[in-house]
Symmetry: C2
Amino acid sequence: MSSPSNYDIVIIGAGPVGLMLSTCLARWGYKIKHIDNRAEPTPTGRADGIQPRSLDLLRNMGLKSAIMAHKPARVYEVAFWDPAKDGNGLVRTGTWASCPSFIDARYPFTTLVHQGKIERVFISDLEKNGLQIQRPWTIKGFKADEGLDPNYPVEVHLEHVDGGQRESVRAKYLFSGEGAKSFVREQLGITITHKDPISHVWGVIDGVVRTDFPDIKMKCTIHSRHGSIMVIPREDNMVRLYIQIASSTDPDFSPRKTATAEEVQASAKKILSPYSIEWEGVEWYSVYPIGQGISSKYTLDHRVFLGGDACHTHSPKAGQGMNAAFLDALNLAWKIHAVEAGLADRALLTTYETERKDVAESLLSFDNKYAKLFSERPPAATEVQAASEQASSASEDNEFVKTFKESCEFTSGYGVAYKPNALNWSPVHPARSRLIHPEGTKLRTGRLMANADVTRVIDANVVHLEQGVPLNGSFRIYVFAGNPSTTAKALKDFALHLTNKRSFFSSYLRPDIDSVSHHETHNPHSLFFTICTVIAARRDQIEIVRDVPSLLARYRDHIYADDRWDRRVPDAAAAAHAKMGLDQEKGGVVVVRPDGYVGVVVGLADGSGTVDALNEYFGSFCSKKLGETLAQL
Amino acid sequence: MSSPSNYDIVIIGAGPVGLMLSTCLARWGYKIKHIDNRAEPTPTGRADGIQPRSLDLLRNMGLKSAIMAHKPARVYEVAFWDPAKDGNGLVRTGTWASCPSFIDARYPFTTLVHQGKIERVFISDLEKNGLQIQRPWTIKGFKADEGLDPNYPVEVHLEHVDGGQRESVRAKYLFSGEGAKSFVREQLGITITHKDPISHVWGVIDGVVRTDFPDIKMKCTIHSRHGSIMVIPREDNMVRLYIQIASSTDPDFSPRKTATAEEVQASAKKILSPYSIEWEGVEWYSVYPIGQGISSKYTLDHRVFLGGDACHTHSPKAGQGMNAAFLDALNLAWKIHAVEAGLADRALLTTYETERKDVAESLLSFDNKYAKLFSERPPAATEVQAASEQASSASEDNEFVKTFKESCEFTSGYGVAYKPNALNWSPVHPARSRLIHPEGTKLRTGRLMANADVTRVIDANVVHLEQGVPLNGSFRIYVFAGNPSTTAKALKDFALHLTNKRSFFSSYLRPDIDSVSHHETHNPHSLFFTICTVIAARRDQIEIVRDVPSLLARYRDHIYADDRWDRRVPDAAAAAHAKMGLDQEKGGVVVVRPDGYVGVVVGLADGSGTVDALNEYFGSFCSKKLGETLAQL
């Protein structure tokens, strides 16, 4: 029963994790109560690094250009400085790419713009969907009881921070994006585990400087005899400096140790000497203790969830916080949607914690490794070279190179690898179909689909294949059609068996399918699936009416020619097929989850086999029992 | 003497030409009165095609993203349809790229978005500079008399279109961007010459259709037994159809012939048969006669100027109108700035008419050739192939291929070639310096500088070299520094001689040079020059303090490493040097006009020769006498 005080979800906290979650769900039509205890968005400071992969995601949401309009700083390389051997001053010991060419990124740089500007981009998108953040309000209590109200089992008590107004609402879900000090987490009695017992006190200062230090526009790690500093360039001629003020390894360590802005500036001056540094203005200054921590649970009942800093905290050095928060929210958003819109069984929600907690744990151990990587010994130039190049073979990689590569995957955001589960079918999945994970495929389930340029057939536009479908909550089914004269029957059979009564596709048709506009691009048949067809032929040799079965052709914006040259597979006639590791004659079908991660790869074969395999895949987490070869004919 | 009713310029008409002119001049600090006789910007219809080169220009002005936010249609290819040989229906006889790969374009497509949206992007930029278009106002009279007031010689009488309010103002310049029916042109008695005596009546209709015609999202030229039609895709699922309703070659031709929207729709239906076409909505419909015309003069006294459609009209087929208008305005804007800000002699203004009228004449003869290209015979597939490919050698080109290539240069906007004059020094310029136009250079004076990717040294950002300096009214001096160990002395000498008392550089220093912020990126020394240094070395091997003389190093955002691989010169170690045709050891200096066209190319040599040659170049149009080797020391 819906009432004015019933919501699909109540979201506490309008930082990156809360905003990403509400932006997705608001776009997909959910009713949201979103509160934040601050009177306005982050005015200065805080997180500011957007990873290459997060920029892909923001682009997929149509928000990238609004971020880039702030003219952020872009970090392409990181420089390392150490004391000179003769004891006088500093020397640059090396620089390396923040996203080297062995990672096939569209945007091989980190984007730096302050958190408040990023928050406002989300907030203005929310406003387009009629959602206002309620500020400054806070949460005072909550209780989930499915017995009391199976539809809206969560009762939430909210209060204006001044204590005057109060409000109680009911919701299907409650989400805490409150940050490290999470009221919800405390109420649930969920503990934080500290992976690394060491914690630190950091000083951070944002401002405009005048300096002759040559790398002030680079991200730098500087070690000197007077201490260490990290330099991060910012928009509007600003720079951020991180200085470690205390470490729990210090003999007199106190997590309450502090320092004034002037003291931090004086330290920075000493550390950078003989280079000069004068401050023309300080925008933000803060000192805070931070330790690595991870929440033991992300949810107890799959009704009340935690995400972002409420679940994991780590050092600011690798710039992971906001990016991990985005991916927490994205992971949860589409799963809530799949369950609430009727595609998936409620059990799907259990994969939120397993997937995201596992990633957070890897992140934390990486954070440690990364910190140690340089403290042990400076890498040799040849090692940096080897690590940065695409071509270096795994056998030549020493420990340094391996750690470096891993660290680049992490800091770029492309290192996220969800483990095998119902959504991510590994090559050794015990499914009955032999078509699953065809030989040669380079795609790894649980990881992002490779990017590739293709040409849209109807208008000859060059399209970034992985961006063709916007973040719309749908699974993306990429039919790599190979050579149409080879695959004609397989394609026809594929389209035919999609219409089988109990196929995944027929089982989840839109209820309003008969009144859908012919302009509908992504979801003409089902809200849960968008189909793309990629043909290994030149665009001018493709005739859609002849080469593409009409069911697939209905997605006319998603019929592509695989005819763009790609430097990474320079000899391939069909570069997209080649990058996926699919045969350019025989093709194959790739199912990509709504969040961009590969779910399963299936061979494209004559008969019902391909659709059978997909039925098996979707059947493992869908709400309906899917059939096999029950032809509708 | 400045008074409230004195303006630097009065601009009549807020279409593309007027808006481009006022946007440039408003940014550069001029006082503008800008009127338009329409109550609001173009609501629907009119011009809508932005050429690849115009998109470069809009990007250089920081306006591209605002245009692209409208999600315009992009035309990458053009399709040609003819009656089938058996008389039944239509067949596609070929498609080709609208900007084939032999043109090195950043954006190899035409952008289609309706004129009103484009106008609003300029208007909102004007508002940021405090300028409002005064609407609906019109011009009633004007008189230019330098004797009466040498500073504000032009008197202009303006009136509200309702006739009530009147206003008289004085200005340094008056500009008519009124369109084909220009009051100013008529008052001046300037005649229009019709190059081609044929004129046509066109019907044009914008709307949303439902059709099974497969190329409805492409630009198409369709000939059928029932007539001809041109299809142009638009944003928001719209399409534009042009139908020729009458031609002066018809026996019963009347330029007043007309047709209703329903008649045009009925013709389109016949022409497209057997494909179906149904209209879901019509946004705009118009019938208008058009002939090729060119104004005999663009100005009489270099105080009152014409531009855009007031000077030249042509068929809509090649989508040239708005783009030619932009370039008229750009050409005039920087020249007015150069004269009024004190850099150039007033004689510079004479080059507006010579340069832009010459281009308009080429445009008109191209327009004819282009129309004939297909009426004569359909090209063979091999010819289209040859024409589209970069590699085809000139000797193999037949007349068709040559005309096709020329037409692509025109339709993309890269065909503009200003002839040799004081600004564009040809290789045979009779200048005394032997350094001018060094052997091997591939740059052509009077044409755009080649594009190239480079790496900015201070922050490792990848920069589009030709976009590094925004449209700021300054000449761009690109010092291709070659190999720093080879050119060390030449570079040092170049910087040294720039400071000579009577050099072009020292003669035009900013009056406020001592108070310029150290954050100033483009114009720390002079408002007329921005200097960029491109070093043929890997970024990590460049130390600015060691390799770049301090005068050049002051432009720290413009010190680049020429270390990016380029597919067009795959074997070059220094791709930017190679694309310019400059020796990667010895380098060279390229002067690019404020509008992006190459002015002169000079060798980089030890001693004063390079600066001497630049003094000679700038001396040919500057307001001050520039010296040669009068060292300041």
